[in-house]
Structure formats: structure tokens, C-alpha cells
């Protein structure tokens, strides 16, 4: 009993998407540092956009890896990506301004070890395994770091574990109302994992088209941004969170519309459901 994984040929070469994804997510995540620079919180949403850029790249990587037929389903690749990624992201976050770069390095190390284990000990013997797991670990790490930065406005560890709570007019510093202390990081973990594993799992098969799959990846990324934007109301200013929420919803709506258009382009035929009209004069 085996199901053949079919992927469409053509489209943008994977290496170009790799570079766009890596550089794009790195630049976008550094844009959240403008928050620290200008002492504001309005730039938090760039973290979510970094996650979207990473997710698009990750989906293309998963497409490459899973076209070899892992035998374990597409979601397992997303799980190992976020599993390696969250460790790298939190370790990287402790290094202050170097956080995104350290995150990438640590994620590459963990991904390489997982890839070597998969190929040389477990003997998967898949040529792209090591490279793919490195890429996926970086994608997972950038997704976690990006969404965490979006939730609390900074990618630095101390910002993630400290929060403030107002009590009878006094503002008290506390570790409970923070991204890590409140276990928001667990929510971010699952939001990222679902976003990365869904797109290719949903689009694979005959007639798979790269632009459609990647558009779904962007749509999943924006969809994950919406809950994070709502969560961010607890940690950053109301207007800054509102900006993030509006950007998430607009981005999701745009990518969703595009995805439906692309789906209809690739479909053989479709039926636009219309409400049943009441016959005149009653039935």
C-alpha cells in the first residue's frame, strides 16, 4: 500500500526561494529591532512577516524532501522542523541583538545533527535529507522567533520572560504575564507547526503547482499571525497590536483570495454554490 507523491515541475528554482526566504526573514526580523531603537512597539508586526517569509521557504523545502517519499507523512517534517527550531530560537534569543543570526547558526547545527542521524544511522539514504533538515530547522527557528517577536515586540530573551501588570493603578513587573512565562510560546509552537505542515500536505498530488502551494503557505502564515496579533494585545500597546491585527487580516484575506483563484485555475471544473431561489408564488 503506497501512495505516490507527485509534485509539479517548473516554477521558481528552490535555491532562489531559499535565498529569498533566508534573507527576507532575517531582514524582516531585524526590522522589529526598530522597536528598541525608537522606543516604540509599532514595528512588532514585522516579526510575523518574517515568519511568513520563512514558512514560504519551508514549504518549498518540504516539497523537495517529501517528493522522495519519507514513509511517515508530510506533517512529521513540520514537527521535526519546529522541534529543532524552538530550541534554537530560544537559545538564540538570549544573545541580544545577535539573536536572529545566532538562531540561524544553532538551528543549522541541530538540523545537521538530525539530518546526519536520519541518513547515516537510521539509514534513510535520501540525498537531500541533511540539507533539507538544516533548512527546515532554520525555518522553524525563524518562525518561532518571528511570531514571538510579534507577540511581545522584541526578540530578546529578557523581553520575552518579563511583562508588566497593572494593579490598582500601580504597574508591577512580573514574569507571569510574558510570552514565555505565560506559555504563549507553546501556542506559537503549534501555530507555526500547523502552518508549515499544512500547505504541501493539502496541495500534493497530480497537478501540484508551485505558485498555488506557496500561496497556501503564505495564507497559513497570515492565518497564524492573526491569533498572535490577538495575543499581542496582552503584551504591547493597543494601537501597535491593532496595526498587527489589521496587517494580518488584510494579508490573510489577500492570500486567501489569490489561493482560491489559483485553485480554480488548476481545477478541472468547479461548482459555485448558490442559494436555492424560492420559486415565485410559493412552492
Amino acid at each position: 500500500m503506497s501512495v505516490k507523491i507527485e509534485v509539479g515541475a517548473g516554477g521558481i528554482p528552490h535555491n532562489r526561494i531559499l535565498i529569498y526566504g533566508l534573507v527576507g526573514s532575517l531582514v524582516l526580523i531585524y526590522l522589529t529591532y526598530l522597536n528598541t531603537y525608537f522606543q516604540t512597539e509599532y514595528f512588532a508586526f514585522f516579526g510575523g512577516l518574517a515568519a511568513v517569509a520563512a514558512l514560504i521557504w519551508g514549504t518549498d523545502t518540504i516539497k523537495h524532501l517529501c517528493s522522495y517519499g519519507l514513509g511517515t507523512g508530510v506533517p512529521s517534517a513540520g514537527m521535526i522542523a519546529l522541534g529543532s527550531g524552538v530550541i534554537a530560537a530560544l537559545f538564540g534569543a538570549t544573545t541580544g541583538i545577535f539573536a536572529p543570526i545566532v538562531t540561524i547558526v544553532i538551528a543549522a547545527i541541530i538540523g545537521a545533527v538530525a539530518g546526519i542521524m536520519a541518513n547515516h544511522v537510521v539509514r534513510m539514504d535520501i540525498p537531500v535529507m541533511i540539507v533539507s533538515l538544516i533548512e527546515l530547522a532554520i525555518v522553524g527557528a525563524m518562525t518561532v522567533l518571528g511570531l514571538a517577536a510579534m507577540a511581545c515586540g522584541t526578540f530578546e530573551f529578557l523581553g520575552m520572560i518579563t511583562g508588566t501588570v497593572s494593579f490598582l493603578g500601580f504597574t508591577v513587573q512580573t514574569y507571569e504575564t510574558s510570552v514565555i512565562g505565560g506559555s504563549i510560546i507553546a501556542v506559537i509552537f503549534m501555530l507555526g507547526a500547523i502552518a508549515i505542515q499544512h500547505s504541501f500536505n493539502a496541495c500534493l498530488g497530480p497537478g501540484e503547482q508551485q505558485d498555488r502551494t506557496l500561496m497556501l503557505a503564505a495564507e497559513c502564515g497570515f492565518l497564524s499571525m492573526i491569533p498572535v496579533a490577538i495575543i499581542s494585545f496582552a503584551f504591547i500597546g493597543t494601537y501597535a497590536a491593532l496595526v498587527a491585527l489589521v496587517i494580518s487580516i488584510v494579508g490573510w484575506f489577500y492570500t486567501y483570495r489569490k489561493y482560491i483563484v489559483l485553485s480554480k485555475r488548476d481545477a478541472y471544473a468547479w461548482l459555485d454554490a448558490k442559494p436555492i431561489l424560492e420559486p415565485k408564488g410559493g412552492a
Binding site: M1, M117, N119, H120
Partner: protein, 283 residues
């Protein structure tokens, strides 16, 4: 669950390559050395605990009857989902059970984790069989063995033509519970080791009491336990490639490879988790 049918589906057990073995030993030794360098003897003991936990997770996954997509159509025995999903379910249930019992001491917490994971798998396996027998109308029959090693029930009379067996025989049920218990035990062990480290380091670092940093320590230990659990579970899944019926399946004999891979992956991921707080405030 569509990527069934990996490249090594039918091949015999291939032993790890020389590079893989050498790298495994080197990486574990380096990780243990780093742990001693960073947190002295407590770090080494914690890392050993994490490695044992990771190995238990990877070993436990091999017991769980995973059916994948064919099982959803009643064409192979097992639970109709992927290894990563089942392992995540059992591990998280175990982790909740163990984390809840953490203040009661190591033995009680570990037992709580094992019972939590085992209980989830027991309920899942039972309900899977209820659906198979009463919903889909198919009897439980293994395709890999002729007689159930525990009950002595025979299978060939009940096995449908063209299938690899169907339903969930008693031996698979027992395997599922053992696997869930081992997974829950391993996940809880990782969690407790990391919790000890963070509860010792965070108060000094942040100049706060243990109660104040408890949310951060618990959240960090929890998310890292989940992350390492998923890495190990996916490596074990790559080792199984596709479906497995339980401890009586010939694929079960592959487990030494997954144990080595999980030990190395846990050591590398664990060293980053243990050393997490070493760089806070440096940059």
C-alpha cells in the same frame, strides 16, 4: 498521511554507517564535556537524564501500532494516523500527567507521566477498535503473524484478501499502552531534568525567588521537553518508515538504530537547553 511507501519499505535492516557511528560517539562525548564545563556535575547528570528520556521516547514509539492512511481504509492494522501525531499525543498526555505531579518528587512524577501516556494510548486503542468493529464492521487480524502471541487467537481466517490485515489485535493494543507509557516516562524525565536546571539558575540570574520565576522555568522546561520529544519521535518514525503493528512486527527489530539516533539528537538538543541561560546578559 499520504507519503507512505518509503524507499526502505521492503529492505532488510541496514546497519548504521561507520561515519554515523563515529560521529554519534564524538557528539555525545562533546555534549557531555560541554555540560560539565557549563554546569559541572549537575549538568552532566541532567544531560544523561535527557539522553535516557530521549532514548525511551524513540524506543517507545516502536511499540505503538501505527496504521497510517491504509488503516483509515481498513487495509492495514493499527491506528489510522502517522507516527509523529500518535507519539505527540501520547507524549503530551504523559507530560501533562508528569508535570502536574512534579512537586511530589521524581518517582511519583515519572509514574504520573507513564500512566498519563499509557492511559491516552489505552483509550485511543480501545476507541479505534470500537470504531473498526462496530462502525466499519471489520474484525481485528494481524498480517504479520498467524497467532496473537498473548491470547493465542489465530488471524488468517479473518484476514481479508488483498490487505495486510486490519483492526487492532490484542498484541497491538498491549504494544500501544507500553509505547505510550515509555513515551510519557521519557518526556517527563526530560521535563524534570530541565526544570531542576532552570529552577537553580533563574533565581540567581534574575535576582528573584523560586516562586517568582516558576512560570518561566516550567514553561521553558515544558516547551523544550515537547521539542525534544518531537525530534526523537520523528527520528523513530523515519526508522519505521510507514506502518508498524507493534512489538511482534518484524520492523520492531530496527529499534537499535533509532535508539542511537535519539541519544545523539537528545544530547545535542539537550546541551543547548541546558546552556540556555549561560549567555543571558552577556551581549
Amino acid at each position: 498521511m499520504s507519503a507512505l511507501g518509503g524507499p526502505k519499505q521492503t529492505g532488510g535492516v541496514q546497519s548504521p554507517t561507520a561515519i554515523g557511528i563515529v560521529l554519534s560517539i564524538v557528539l555525545i562525548v562533546v555534549a557531555l564535556g560541554l555540560a560539565y564545563f557549563l554546569v559541572q556535575m549537575a549538568g552532566v547528570l541532567a544531560l544523561v537524564g535527557i539522553i535516557i528520556g530521549g532514548v525511551l521516547v524513540a524506543f517507545g514509539v516502536h511499540f505503538v501500532p501505527v496504521g497510517g492512511a491504509p488503516a483509515a481504509m481498513g487495509q492495514s492494522p493499527g491506528i489510522a494516523t502517522g507516527v509523529a501525531m500518535l507519539a505527540a499525543g501520547a507524549g503530551l498526555a504523559g507530560l501533562f500527567g508528569g508535570a502536574w505531579a512534579a512537586p511530589l518528587g521524581l518517582p511519583v512524577a515519572l509514574a504520573g507521566g507513564a500512566v498519563g501516556g499509557g492511559l491516552l494510548m489505552a483509550i485511543t486503542c480501545t476507541m479505534v477498535n470500537v470504531i473498526y468493529v462496530f462502525g466499519m464492521g471489520i474484525p481485528a487480524a494481524s498480517g504479520k503473524v498467524d497467532k496473537d502471541p498473548i491470547t493465542g487467537d489465530t488471524f488468517p481466517e479473518y484476514k481479508s484478501q488483498g490487505t495486510e490485515g486490519h483492526g487492532l489485535p490484542f498484541i497491538s493494543w498491549v504494544g500501544g499502552v507500553i509505547g505510550g507509557a515509555l513515551g510519557g516516562l521519557g518526556g517527563t524525565l526530560i521535563y524534570l531534568e530541565l526544570l531542576d536546571i532552570y529552577q537553580a539558575q533563574l533565581p540567581v540570574l534574575l535576582n528573584a525567588t523560586v516562586e517568582q520565576i516558576a512560570p518561566v522555568a516550567i514553561s521553558l522546561a515544558g516547551i523544550f521537553a515537547v521539542a525534544m520529544f518531537l525530534i526523537n519521535a520523528v527520528l523513530a518514525a523515519y526508522n519505521i518508515t510507514g506502518t508498524i503493528e507493534g512489538p511482534h512486527d518484524p520492523k520492531f527489530k530496527r529499534f537499535p538504530r533509532a535508539v542511537v539516533a535519539a541519544a545523539v539528537a537528545s544530547a545535542v538538543a539537550g546541551i543547548f537547553a541546558i546552556g540556555l541561560l549561560q549567555l543571558v546578559g552577556v551581549f
